[in-house]
Amino acid sequence: MQPLVAPSLLAFDLGRMADEVRALEAAGADVLHLDVMDGHFVPNLTFGFPVIEALRKVTTLPFDAHLMVSNPDDHLDEYARVGCNWISVHVETCSHLHRTLGRIRELGMKAGVAINPGTSLASLDAILTPGSPADFILLMTVNPGFAGQKFVAGGMERIAKLRALVDERVGRGNIRIEVDGSLKTENAADAVRAGAEILVVGSGIAATKDWKTTIAALKGSGSRR
């Protein structure tokens, strides 16, 4: 299966955001990944509604907002209003995860659960069921907060473990696995082989010369050899 490529806006030139997004769309990106940070759940601060709303006018790419915030429930309606299509919330912050996911779907968006490298996959037990309330799992392979970090040790094994859990309990194709953290053309094939279906890539695209070639190579990581 060819993976979807979701460039992460944070790694690009934020001073020329609209141009960068248009260029990514033209280069073959499937989804635009938006890292929303609140300076509380994670040490960094990024962007929010006005920026997302402005970007909605320049592209038709689906928006995938990764909420690294302590209180995601307070603003779900706003994310829908400004044009987000997917929302992921952290299993570490949601005390009523089913309710939050239900609300995201109710607002017409796809609901995802993000999980940090230090959190046991067992915390996804209640989500990985037939008829799951989630549409995707966002597996972090770095500790969220900053762009450009190193892939955590054991990351590939963790992807494979999640893949096996999803296939066994929910059935392949019902929940998708998105992987975020230090992915590039060099390790993308390993991640896809382990079971990643959506690749969030930041500097792995931004730091290369020809984005179109890079994105094509990332997608090609799904081909059998």
Partner: protein
Amino acid sequence: MPGVLRLVFMGTPAFAATILDGVIAAGIRPVLVVTQPARPAGRGRKEQPSAVAERAGALGLPCIAVENVNAPDVMERLAAAAPDIVLVAAFGQILKQPLLDLPKLHCLNVHGSLLPKYRGAAPVQRALWNGDEVTGITIQKMAGRLDTGDVLLQRTVAIEPDDDSETLLARLANVGAELAVESIYRIVSGRYVFVPQDPDQATYAAKLDKSDAPLDFQLPAQELHNRVRALVPWPVAETRLGSERLKIYATRVEPGPFPQPPGTLVTDGRRELTIVCGDARGLGLIEVQPENRKRMPVRDFLGGFRGQLPVESVG
């Protein structure tokens, strides 16, 4: 009720236009039609008025296109229309409580599923995606939370094996029009009951987007066939033939069994092209669209290669 029923109709795409037509055919002429503003659509993404705006224009009905139906100036206009009933079908905006409380009788909604199943934006697409054999239309009294309203009328509609979202939506729209008219009659004559939904049975139908288009040939053939149907007319299923994108509009399930690995192309070079799926059955392509070309039967597509496809497998 004395006098003429004052109906305000809210809707946007073709599904809603069909229901508007049905209401008018029954002799009920809305005092006001509300729709979404013109949006970029089609090739060239030129601004196009909604199907309902066009229909209302052709019928000479007063019609307003609004960005936010709950905004004070719109609310004023709606209050001036003094509706007995507000009928909402695929409008695309959420009505807030002051608006829900505005009509003398009720705000009614035509929803394309058997609620509480498939609440949300894409009930028809999700029913196809999941391979359901039956769906239907629900008329609900609109509530503060989306698609949680008490049910007035429901009718089931069979899903045909070759239905796609376009054909199924068109059929559901006709049933929706009949039920909308019947609901209005019942409410006006006072012969009706509202039945609450069972929240434990609720499921949500998230919108499809472009990311749902690529097919994963590890999945069983029937599931992929269902997805192809759900994805027409938008965003349309696709796969990659080498570096070229191939859109897939119509398929059938080939029983096989095929010994080749999933994604392998099996073809006689002339008429048939089948992609092997995860359950050793095949997805037989019927109609496709290669990149920068128009839609064509698979026979014409194969003709372009004189029997020699550039790749042996896809996905």
